[in-house]
Amino acid sequence: MAGAETPELARAAEAGGADIIEIGFPFSDPLADGAVIRRAAERALAQGMRTAQCLECLRSVAAQVALPLIPMTYASLLEAYGWQRFAADARSAGATSLIVADLPVDVQPELRRVQLVAPTSTDDRIALAAESTDGWLYLVTVAGTTGARAELSPALAPLVERTRALTDTPLYAGFGISTPEQAAAAGELTEGVVVGSAALLAAEEGAAALERFVAQLRVALT
């Protein structure tokens, strides 16, 4: 989540072996998010992290970290800022792509972004998302919100199978992946995994804790 601590945390994640860093731009009503990310968003908003400040944070992270950076946010911020203006300003601040959690694949088609599909997506929607996604397709593992779960979702394997039948685009699994074991299991099925809430929880203990956690995930994925 964008904020004062983000550059240090991003460096820690890079040191731990992350390949890509998603930076949340907080929104007042994050429907896709569970308690951990919601709380982080509330803290960020209380710190005054509006769109302009988030772009500054992104710029600062990009100056300190060599990894691809992907802002993750909700459509309302782009609607207010201007869709193409947001994309352009994010890119010039160092963003490699964008994730807009509540933007359906067929809305704003000119906005290059990583598309999301879920176990509830139809084959037609998966094909459309795969066709227009920027680099990789985000497979949401549950019909639910972000947040740690005890087991890797059983809905992931069938979703991967359906998606592989429709596209060769690289697939990353995310939502509910909290432990190295779950990451390894998801990583058997996909090209990559996205870890959000669990990383935020580690980050609450400090940059060193985050670096250790990312390193454990890295080891589990080799």
């Binding site: 929104f27 007042s28 009503d29 908003l45 509006r50 309302s76 609607e79 207010a80 509540d102």
Partner: protein
């Protein structure tokens, strides 16, 4: 209306929170241009009156939001109207001019509750009491007001005021 009164109303009035009961009522009259459509929002939750284009709960519509697209807090004495967004059809009807949207305060809704109770013996929910409050102002002879719910649930609140 046609079966019972052999005519259409001059105006149709409904309270608007998320907009579902209002759009249901308006839907029957959209193609009757002589029928005025009036939606009444809570003054503290006037998504159509004071909102801007934003995206909330899967809809791009008129929302109480700030310049950054962050959604603001709404307020209404009635839970059903206490919502910073509204269904996008209402935003479209507002923008095309087919429907007009006004507001009523908590106090006006409470007063309308009492007036209907005393004159007709009907307890309206506080949500449609907002519609009643503005219906009384309308310069029209034959007005259809949607009473979207009963006021039994609101008695405790009403008695407190």
């Amino acid at each position: 209306m046609l079966d019972s009164y052999e005519r259409l109303p001059d105006a149709v009035v409904a309270c608007v929170g998320g907009g579902s009961n209002a759009i249901g009522l308006f839907a029957g009259f959209l193609d009757d241009p002589d029928v005025r459509l009036v939606g009444v929002e809570a003054a503290g939750a006037a998504s159509l009156g004071s909102g801007r284009r934003a995206v909330l709960h899967g809809a791009r519509s008129s929302v109480l939001a700030d310049d950054d697209g962050q959604v603001l807090d709404a307020h209404s004495i009635s839970a059903g109207l206490d919502y910073p967004g509204v269904g996008p059809e209402h935003a479209a009807l507002r923008d095309s001019g087919r429907a007009e949207y006004v507001t009523a305060t908590d106090e006006e809704a409470l007063a309308a509750f009492h007036r209907l109770a005393e004159t007709e013996g009907i307890l309206p929910a506080l949500e449609p009491a907002h519609a009643l409050a503005r219906a009384l102002d309308l310069d029209a002879d034959f007005i259809l007001v949607g009473l979207s719910g009963r006021g039994d649930k609101d008695l405790a609140e009403v008695l407190e005021h």
